[in-house]
Symmetry: C2
Subunit: 203 residues, 2 copies
């Protein structure tokens, strides 16, 4: 068909999502504080004013990146399978899906985990992380109360260790790495039965 050519952006990689991804890469490599809009424009190969056309500034980029990570994590808590069933069934779903979010949104979650609270946006992100951990703490407490988890488990400590176990994956997981297809289920197994569990007496 010989229609007039569709008007399209000269840089298909210069869209908002792509700019965000570039910015997050720079934030992770240099540190947020040490990265300027100048650095970001150079990394994206566009002018500073083109960059400002998409994002009001550095903190707007940080906010968009952290929202993507936070929305991914809280989306897990909203899944029907994370809301129904026994506390341990829900925990299983949440841990597996949290690992999946981490694998698919790796740079955004990595950035979220490095946040230290120096800006309003960072303090908002820390508050969201605490809210997520509080939801996990409540669920572990429900599991203990229901007799599904050993009674001597401290829910607050368990939630911190779960968070540490899951989040530590950002340190070494890279997309496409062989042997990581079963990672979500492997982490669930480790959380529920141990990282180095005894053989079951009756296998």
């Amino acid at each position: 068909m010989s229609q007039a050519p569709v008007k399209r952006a000269r840089r298909p990689s210069g869209g908002r999502d792509q700019l965000l991804e570039t910015a997050v890469g720079e934030f992770i490599a240099r540190g947020y504080d040490a990265t300027s809009m100048e650095d970001l424009s150079r990394a994206a190969g566009i002018t500073k004013s083109s960059f400002y056309h998409h994002f009001a500034g550095k903190e707007a980029l940080l906010r968009a990146a952290l929202e993507r990570a936070v929305d991914g994590l809280f989306g897990v808590l909203e899944l029907p399978t994370a809301r129904d069933g026994s506390p341990v069934q829900r925990l299983r779903v949440i841990i597996a899906e949290q690992v999946r979010v981490l694998m698919t949104e790796l740079p955004y979650v990595t950035l979220l985990l490095r946040v230290r609270g120096n800006t309003e946006t960072e303090r908002w992100a820390l508050e969201r992380r605490r809210a997520f951990d509080a939801a996990i703490t409540r669920l572990v407490r429900d599991a203990v109360d229901a007799g599904e988890v050993r009674a001597d488990v401290d829910p607050a400590l368990a939630a911190k260790l779960l968070s540490g176990l899951v989040n530590s994956i950002v340190e070494w997981y890279r997309p496409g790495r062989p042997g990581t297809a079963t990672l979500p289920e492997d982490v669930v197994q480790a959380a529920l039965t141990g990282i180095v569990p005894s053989p079951t007496p009756n296998p």
Copy 2:
């Protein structure tokens, strides 16, 4: 007694160990790259030339700090109780002692865990971390081979998850925090039986 006053440094806090501790605090707060000898001298309340009297420069400080963390961790592997006994008994000792090193050497281990490999010293530290993880991987493999750990456990993944579990404590542990006296044993328990373990069938 009316002896002549003992000659003492005007700043008892200006010794080598204290300077190192101050520097590590600044490295953690600002990031190593963003910290100058100027910043360090100011934080320590001494002149730059007094600082250089103790340390040849910034990288010498980093090296001393990372050596302290690395020596602490490798010291664990050298403990008699970490060298004798079944693989799982040795793992129990190593995990507990690794948590203790982390608690007592918190800032130094925190710095070690943030190292990204930008300098020769940082690459040395990363190599030492890999060597430590390799020792744990071998021990988990021995435990699987001895039938002490479930046969479907992947030793390399288990070593990564163990490292993640233990090291995540630096994110929230602070000395003197109530309820952390049993942390070393709690982490051992979590690693061997699960963070949210089922109640034992016959308690």
